[in-house]
Symmetry: C2
Subunit: 332 residues, 2 copies
C-alpha cells in the first residue's frame, strides 16, 4: 500500500480501490489474485451465486432514484452481469441516530417497490443504529442470491470480439453530483438506476456467444473496461463517436472537469460478444426499453502497451486512463 | 411509531427495535407480520437459506474477538440456528477515511481466520469509504448462504417442551462493555464469540425433536425467549439457578446495573426440544467444546399473561421484561 491511512479515494472504484483490494483484502481471503468477483458461486451448490454491495450515496434522494432503489438495482445488476437470474435479497440498514422515521419509511418503501419491479424478494434484513456523527444518515448493504443461467469468463475474450454498450453513459454520476452540489443545470439530469436483468435475459435467450458482461458503476466505463482488459489479457479499442451520451450530460461533465468515461452508471450493460454475433446482439438489446440506444462502441485487439484506447472524434487515438478514485466520492 | 426520529435504542434489539421492524420494515416488504426472519429460504431454490447482519461494534477489538471474527460468527450463527449448514459469506466494508490500513488488515485477517475455522468461504465483497465523521472507523456487513438440513418453526413449540442453553450467558456484552468503558474488573472478561454450527450439527445428527433454535445476541436471552414465546404462543418458565453464568460476569452485571438476561451473547445456542429428548440433548451438546456447560434452563407451559417468567434463587417468581433497547448500544 502506498498509504498507511485509508483515503476517500480508496472507495472511488479506481486505481486506489484496486490497490486496497489486491494488497489487503485478497491476501487475507486467499482467493483468486484478480480479486473477489462482484458475484461468486457458492461452494457446495450447483448454480447458486452470491453478491453484496454497500451503498453510501449522498444525498439519499436524487433525481431518478434514492438509496433504497439503488441498493436493489445495484445488487440485482451484480448478479445479472455474472449470468445469474436474481432471486432474493437481504437488506441491512445502518442508521444514524436522529434520522427522520419518515425518511426511513420512504427509503424502504422505494427499495420494496424496486424489488417488486425486479421480481426479487427481500427475504431478510438487519437494523443497526449508531450515535450522531458516527454515520451519515443512512447506509444500506444489500446481498443477493441468484441462480446461474450462463457462465462468462473474461479469459474467453478474443481479439476481434465486439464491445457493446446498452445506452448513454454518465447519467447516474451527474444526477447525484448536481443534486449534491446544488448545481443548477438547465436540464434536470436523472439517474439511469435500473435493473439490467431484462437486457441480460434477452441476450441469454438469443443464444449469442457472450464472453463477459459488466455494469459500469463506480469508476465508470473506463474502470470496467480496464479491469476486463487486464483480466482478459487483451486491449480494447473504443470509438468516441460510437459511445452514446446525452448532449447535456456531456456538457455537464465538461463543465465539472470530469471524463464521462469515468462517471458512474447504474443501469447500463457492457457486453463482449463474438464479432459474428455483434449486430444481432445490438438488435436484441434494442428490443428492451432500457437498451434502445445500444451500440457497438469498440472492439478487442491483442494485448498492446495500453489496455484501453479511444479514437477521438477528431481521429486521434489516446490511452484511456484508469480513474485514480477521488473524482466522485459517495456516488453509490 | 412512538417517535418521529430514530433513537439509539431502536438498534438495541429490544422493544423499540421490534416496533421499528413491525411498523416500518415489514409493511414495506409485505412479508410475514412476525417480521423478517434472521435467515430465510430463497424462493426458487430447494433448500438455500440467506441471512445478513451489519456489525457496528465499538471498540473494533475486544477480549475474545474483533469486528472481523464477530461478523463471521454472527452470520454463521444466524444460518445455523435456522437449521442450515453455512456455506459461503459475502463481506462488505464501510470505512471511515483516516482508518489505519494496519487496523483494516488485522480485521480482515481475523475475519478470514474465523471463516476458515467455521468452514465457510468468503467469496465476494465490497468496499466503500466515507469522509471523517461520516462513519466511526469501520462497519462490516456480512451476508451468508447455507443449505437447510432441518426445518424448525416456533409454532411447533408444545407445552412440556424443555428449554436448553448451551453455556454461560452475558459474556460478549460484558467483554465489549468493559473494554469500551475502560472498566478495570479484577477478571479480564472474554467474549464468547464463536460458531454454534458444531452444536447445531450434533443436535441434527442426534435426531432429537428440535422445535426451534436461537442465538441470543443483542437483547440477550430475554429478547430471544420473549420473541419465541410470542411467535409460539406459549409461556416460558425459567429457573434462575439453572441458567449458567460465570460468577465474575454476574458480579459485573450487578455492578453495571444490567440484567444478565438482557446482555448479548455471540456463541450461545438456545434450543426448544420435546421433553422426552431433553436429557439426551444436553448430553449431546456437552460432547462439543462450546457446549460443556449446556443445561435445561426452563420449560414451556400454555400461554399465560406473561410470556417469560423466572423463578429466582429465593423461590419467588417474576416476569422477565423485554429490554427496551438502550442498555448496550453498539454491542455487535
Amino acid at each position: 500500500m502506498q498509504h498507511d491511512k485509508i483515503l476517500l479515494a480508496h472507495g472511488g472504484g479506481g486505481i486506489l480501490t484496486r490497490e486496497l483490494i489486491e494488497t489487503i483484502i485478497v491476501p487475507a481471503f486467499g482467493t483468486d489474485p484478480r480479486g473477489l468477483p462482484d458475484a461468486a458461486p457458492v461452494p457446495g451448490t450447483a448454480d447458486i451465486m452470491l453478491t453484496t454491495d454497500s451503498f453510501v450515496v449522498k444525498p439519499l434522494f436524487f433525481p431518478g432514484g434514492d438509496i433504497g432503489s439503488l441498493s436493489i438495482h445495484g445488487t440485482v445488476n451484480d448478479l445479472a452481469v455474472s449470468g445469474a437470474k436474481p432471486l432474493a435479497i437481504a437488506l441491512s440498514l445502518i442508521i444514524e441516530e436522529g434520522l427522520e422515521v419518515e425518511t426511513l419509511r420512504r427509503v424502504v418503501t422505494s427499495a420494496a417497490r424496486a424489488a417488486r419491479e425486479c421480481g426479487v424478494a427481500v427475504v431478510t434484513g438487519d437494523t443497526k443504529v449508531v450515535a450522531r456523527r458516527e454515520a451519515d444518515g443512512l447506509f444500506i448493504t444489500t446481498a443477493g442470491v441468484g441462480i446461474r443461467r450462463i457462465t462468462t469468463d473474461p479469459r474467453t475474450i478474443t481479439p476481434g470480439d465486439a464491445v457493446i454498450l446498452s445506452g448513454p453513459i454518465a447519467e447516474h454520476g451527474i444526477a447525484v453530483m448536481s443534486k449534491r452540489e446544488g448545481i443548477d443545470f438547465k436540464t434536470q439530469f436523472e439517474s439511469d438506476s435500473a435493473s439490467v436483468w431484462p437486457l441480460v435475459e434477452s441476450l441469454i435467450e438469443s443464444g449469442a456467444a457472450v464472453r463477459v458482461m459488466r455494469d459500469p458503476t463506480r469508476g465508470g466505463l473506463a474502470a470496467a473496461l480496464m479491469e476486463l482488459a487486464a483480466d482478459g489479457n487483451i486491449t480494447v479499442q473504443l470509438r468516441e463517436d460510437a459511445i452514446p451520451i446525452e448532449e447535456g450530460v456531456a456538457a455537464a461533465c465538461e463543465m465539472l472537469g470530469l471524463d464521462p468515461l469515468t462517471v458512474a452508471n447504474e443501469g447500463k450493460l457492457v457486453v463482449f460478444v463474438s464479432k459474428r454475433d455483434a449486430e444481432r446482439t445490438v438488435a436484441v438489446l434494442r428490443t428492451i426499453a432500457t437498451g434502445q440506444r445500444a451500440a457497438i462502441i469498440g472492439s478487442v485487439v491483442p494485448a498492446g502497451p495500453v489496455p484501453v484506447t479511444i479514437e477521438t472524434r477528431f481521429g486521434s487515438v489516446r490511452a484511456v486512463d484508469m480513474p485514480y478514485g477521488e473524482e466522485l466520492p459517495r456516488i453509490c
